[in-house]
Point group: C2
Chain length 118, copies 2
Protein backbone atom coordinates (compact mmCIF):
# COMPACT_ATOMS: atom_id res chain seq x y z
CA UNK A 1 0.00 0.00 0.00
CA UNK A 2 1.24 3.40 -0.93
CA UNK A 3 0.08 6.72 0.51
CA UNK A 4 -1.77 7.67 -2.61
CA UNK A 5 -4.86 9.73 -2.51
CA UNK A 6 -7.64 8.10 -0.58
CA UNK A 7 -10.16 6.28 -2.73
CA UNK A 8 -12.23 9.16 -3.86
CA UNK A 9 -15.91 8.52 -3.92
CA UNK A 10 -18.86 10.69 -4.41
CA UNK A 11 -17.16 12.78 -7.02
CA UNK A 12 -17.91 12.33 -10.67
CA UNK A 13 -17.16 8.71 -11.33
CA UNK A 14 -18.75 5.48 -10.37
CA UNK A 15 -18.46 4.96 -6.64
CA UNK A 16 -16.69 1.97 -5.20
CA UNK A 17 -19.85 0.18 -4.23
CA UNK A 18 -21.45 0.61 -7.62
CA UNK A 19 -18.30 -0.58 -9.32
CA UNK A 20 -18.19 -3.70 -7.16
CA UNK A 21 -21.80 -4.51 -7.86
CA UNK A 22 -21.29 -4.02 -11.56
CA UNK A 23 -18.09 -6.04 -11.62
CA UNK A 24 -19.81 -8.96 -9.90
CA UNK A 25 -22.55 -8.99 -12.49
CA UNK A 26 -20.12 -8.80 -15.36
CA UNK A 27 -18.03 -11.51 -13.79
CA UNK A 28 -21.01 -13.82 -13.73
CA UNK A 29 -21.15 -13.47 -17.51
CA UNK A 30 -17.41 -13.79 -18.01
CA UNK A 31 -17.59 -17.41 -19.11
CA UNK A 32 -18.89 -18.54 -22.51
CA UNK A 33 -20.87 -21.36 -20.98
CA UNK A 34 -22.72 -18.97 -18.74
CA UNK A 35 -23.38 -16.54 -21.57
CA UNK A 36 -24.93 -19.37 -23.54
CA UNK A 37 -26.91 -20.58 -20.56
CA UNK A 38 -28.49 -17.17 -20.14
CA UNK A 39 -29.26 -16.96 -23.85
CA UNK A 40 -30.80 -20.43 -23.87
CA UNK A 41 -32.95 -19.82 -20.84
CA UNK A 42 -34.10 -16.51 -22.17
CA UNK A 43 -35.14 -18.00 -25.49
CA UNK A 44 -36.80 -21.03 -23.99
CA UNK A 45 -40.56 -21.46 -24.34
CA UNK A 46 -42.39 -19.62 -21.55
CA UNK A 47 -39.09 -18.05 -20.59
CA UNK A 48 -37.96 -20.95 -18.53
CA UNK A 49 -35.78 -23.96 -19.11
CA UNK A 50 -35.26 -27.21 -17.29
CA UNK A 51 -31.83 -28.44 -16.41
CA UNK A 52 -32.47 -31.53 -18.46
CA UNK A 53 -33.09 -29.36 -21.51
CA UNK A 54 -29.92 -27.39 -21.04
CA UNK A 55 -27.56 -30.24 -20.26
CA UNK A 56 -27.49 -31.88 -23.71
CA UNK A 57 -26.40 -28.58 -25.20
CA UNK A 58 -23.05 -28.71 -23.52
CA UNK A 59 -20.26 -31.22 -23.82
CA UNK A 60 -19.39 -31.23 -20.18
CA UNK A 61 -20.31 -33.23 -17.13
CA UNK A 62 -23.55 -32.47 -15.43
CA UNK A 63 -21.75 -31.28 -12.32
CA UNK A 64 -19.93 -28.55 -14.24
CA UNK A 65 -23.14 -27.26 -15.69
CA UNK A 66 -24.77 -27.24 -12.30
CA UNK A 67 -21.82 -25.27 -11.04
CA UNK A 68 -22.24 -22.59 -13.71
CA UNK A 69 -25.95 -22.36 -13.06
CA UNK A 70 -25.27 -21.91 -9.40
CA UNK A 71 -23.00 -18.97 -10.14
CA UNK A 72 -25.66 -17.34 -12.29
CA UNK A 73 -28.28 -17.86 -9.62
CA UNK A 74 -25.95 -16.50 -6.94
CA UNK A 75 -25.41 -13.38 -9.05
CA UNK A 76 -29.17 -12.93 -9.34
CA UNK A 77 -29.13 -13.29 -13.11
CA UNK A 78 -31.06 -16.55 -13.06
CA UNK A 79 -33.57 -17.88 -10.60
CA UNK A 80 -34.11 -21.51 -9.83
CA UNK A 81 -37.33 -23.25 -8.97
CA UNK A 82 -37.62 -26.88 -8.14
CA UNK A 83 -40.85 -28.38 -9.38
CA UNK A 84 -41.04 -32.05 -8.58
CA UNK A 85 -38.13 -33.87 -10.06
CA UNK A 86 -36.81 -31.11 -12.26
CA UNK A 87 -35.17 -27.75 -11.68
CA UNK A 88 -36.40 -24.87 -13.79
CA UNK A 89 -34.47 -21.73 -14.49
CA UNK A 90 -35.64 -18.27 -15.49
CA UNK A 91 -33.86 -15.06 -16.40
CA UNK A 92 -34.17 -12.23 -13.92
CA UNK A 93 -34.26 -9.20 -16.13
CA UNK A 94 -33.44 -6.53 -13.57
CA UNK A 95 -29.73 -7.30 -13.28
CA UNK A 96 -29.44 -7.43 -17.05
CA UNK A 97 -31.19 -4.09 -17.33
CA UNK A 98 -28.88 -2.65 -14.68
CA UNK A 99 -25.84 -3.73 -16.65
CA UNK A 100 -27.32 -2.36 -19.81
CA UNK A 101 -27.96 0.98 -18.18
CA UNK A 102 -24.48 1.09 -16.85
CA UNK A 103 -22.97 0.35 -20.25
CA UNK A 104 -25.01 3.08 -21.83
CA UNK A 105 -24.75 5.75 -19.20
CA UNK A 106 -21.53 4.87 -17.47
CA UNK A 107 -23.16 5.84 -14.24
CA UNK A 108 -23.80 3.92 -11.07
CA UNK A 109 -25.86 0.78 -11.14
CA UNK A 110 -29.20 2.24 -10.34
CA UNK A 111 -31.99 3.77 -12.28
CA UNK A 112 -30.44 6.49 -14.34
CA UNK A 113 -32.62 8.97 -16.20
CA UNK A 114 -29.85 10.27 -18.42
CA UNK A 115 -30.60 10.27 -22.12
CA UNK A 116 -28.97 7.73 -24.34
CA UNK A 117 -26.73 10.22 -26.05
CA UNK A 118 -26.08 12.64 -23.24
Amino acid sequence: MVPLAAPTTGTTALDDLGASVAAKLFKALSDPVRVQLVALVRQAPDGEACFCDLAPRFAMPQSSLSHHLKILVAAGILSRERRGTWSWYRVEHDPLAAMETMLRAGGPLREHPAGACE
Copy 2:
Protein backbone atom coordinates in the same frame (compact mmCIF):
# COMPACT_ATOMS: atom_id res chain seq x y z
CA MET B 1 -38.57 -32.89 -21.85
CA VAL B 2 -39.47 -29.99 -24.03
CA PRO B 3 -36.88 -29.42 -26.74
CA LEU B 4 -35.31 -26.02 -26.93
CA ALA B 5 -34.94 -24.23 -30.20
CA ALA B 6 -32.65 -26.12 -32.52
CA PRO B 7 -29.24 -24.54 -33.04
CA THR B 8 -29.93 -23.90 -36.71
CA THR B 9 -33.24 -22.16 -36.56
CA GLY B 10 -33.81 -18.44 -36.66
CA THR B 11 -34.41 -18.45 -32.96
CA THR B 12 -31.07 -20.02 -32.35
CA ALA B 13 -29.23 -19.37 -29.18
CA LEU B 14 -25.95 -17.63 -29.07
CA ASP B 15 -23.38 -19.61 -31.02
CA ASP B 16 -20.11 -20.68 -29.49
CA LEU B 17 -18.12 -17.95 -31.14
CA GLY B 18 -20.51 -15.21 -30.14
CA ALA B 19 -20.57 -16.48 -26.60
CA SER B 20 -16.78 -16.45 -26.41
CA VAL B 21 -16.60 -12.93 -27.75
CA ALA B 22 -19.23 -11.77 -25.31
CA ALA B 23 -17.61 -13.56 -22.40
CA LYS B 24 -14.26 -11.91 -23.13
CA LEU B 25 -15.85 -8.48 -23.11
CA PHE B 26 -17.70 -9.14 -19.89
CA LYS B 27 -14.57 -10.55 -18.35
CA ALA B 28 -12.72 -7.35 -19.10
CA LEU B 29 -15.28 -5.58 -16.92
CA SER B 30 -15.29 -8.20 -14.20
CA ASP B 31 -13.05 -6.19 -11.90
CA PRO B 32 -14.20 -3.11 -9.95
CA VAL B 33 -11.05 -1.21 -10.81
CA ARG B 34 -11.65 -1.70 -14.50
CA VAL B 35 -15.29 -0.70 -14.22
CA GLN B 36 -14.21 2.51 -12.56
CA LEU B 37 -11.50 3.12 -15.12
CA VAL B 38 -13.99 2.92 -17.93
CA ALA B 39 -16.36 5.23 -16.11
CA LEU B 40 -13.61 7.73 -15.41
CA VAL B 41 -12.31 7.78 -18.95
CA ARG B 42 -15.78 8.11 -20.33
CA GLN B 43 -16.59 11.06 -18.12
CA ALA B 44 -13.29 12.79 -18.68
CA PRO B 45 -13.24 16.10 -20.54
CA ASP B 46 -13.05 15.57 -24.30
CA GLY B 47 -13.69 11.89 -23.66
CA GLU B 48 -10.10 11.08 -22.95
CA ALA B 49 -8.02 10.74 -19.84
CA CYS B 50 -4.31 10.66 -19.17
CA PHE B 51 -2.75 7.94 -17.08
CA CYS B 52 -1.51 10.59 -14.71
CA ASP B 53 -5.10 11.76 -14.16
CA LEU B 54 -6.35 8.27 -13.45
CA ALA B 55 -3.57 7.08 -11.17
CA PRO B 56 -4.32 9.31 -8.16
CA ARG B 57 -7.84 7.95 -8.08
CA PHE B 58 -6.70 4.51 -7.05
CA ALA B 59 -4.83 3.35 -4.00
CA MET B 60 -2.63 0.91 -5.83
CA PRO B 61 0.79 0.95 -7.40
CA GLN B 62 1.19 2.39 -10.85
CA SER B 63 2.08 -1.01 -12.26
CA SER B 64 -1.23 -2.52 -11.19
CA LEU B 65 -3.18 0.24 -12.81
CA SER B 66 -1.20 -0.11 -15.99
CA HIS B 67 -2.00 -3.80 -15.94
CA HIS B 68 -5.73 -3.14 -15.74
CA LEU B 69 -5.56 -0.60 -18.50
CA LYS B 70 -3.74 -3.08 -20.65
CA ILE B 71 -6.52 -5.60 -20.19
CA LEU B 72 -9.14 -3.04 -21.18
CA VAL B 73 -7.13 -2.06 -24.24
CA ALA B 74 -6.60 -5.70 -25.20
CA ALA B 75 -10.35 -6.25 -24.99
CA GLY B 76 -10.94 -3.28 -27.28
CA ILE B 77 -12.89 -1.38 -24.66
CA LEU B 78 -10.29 1.33 -24.33
CA SER B 79 -7.78 2.65 -26.82
CA ARG B 80 -4.41 4.03 -25.93
CA GLU B 81 -2.56 6.84 -27.61
CA ARG B 82 0.85 8.02 -26.64
CA ARG B 83 1.29 11.74 -27.11
CA GLY B 84 4.68 12.89 -26.05
CA THR B 85 5.32 11.95 -22.49
CA TRP B 86 1.82 10.89 -21.56
CA SER B 87 -0.52 8.09 -22.46
CA TRP B 88 -4.11 9.02 -23.22
CA TYR B 89 -7.04 6.66 -23.06
CA ARG B 90 -10.41 6.79 -24.77
CA VAL B 91 -13.51 4.62 -24.59
CA GLU B 92 -14.30 2.62 -27.70
CA HIS B 93 -18.04 2.65 -27.75
CA ASP B 94 -18.68 -0.20 -30.15
CA PRO B 95 -17.81 -3.00 -27.75
CA LEU B 96 -19.94 -1.41 -25.06
CA ALA B 97 -22.81 -1.09 -27.48
CA ALA B 98 -22.33 -4.72 -28.49
CA MET B 99 -22.59 -5.83 -24.89
CA GLU B 100 -25.61 -3.66 -24.38
CA THR B 101 -27.33 -5.14 -27.39
CA MET B 102 -26.55 -8.59 -26.23
CA LEU B 103 -27.97 -7.94 -22.78
CA ARG B 104 -31.13 -6.57 -24.29
CA ALA B 105 -31.66 -9.00 -27.12
CA GLY B 106 -29.73 -12.03 -26.08
CA GLY B 107 -28.57 -12.35 -29.64
CA PRO B 108 -25.11 -12.72 -31.07
CA LEU B 109 -22.64 -9.89 -30.96
CA ARG B 110 -22.32 -8.06 -34.23
CA GLU B 111 -19.78 -5.60 -35.48
CA HIS B 112 -22.10 -2.62 -35.53
CA PRO B 113 -25.13 -3.24 -33.43
CA ALA B 114 -27.83 -0.64 -33.51
CA GLY B 115 -25.65 1.72 -31.59
CA ALA B 116 -26.99 4.03 -28.94
CA CYS B 117 -25.86 7.21 -30.55
CA GLU B 118 -26.17 6.88 -34.28
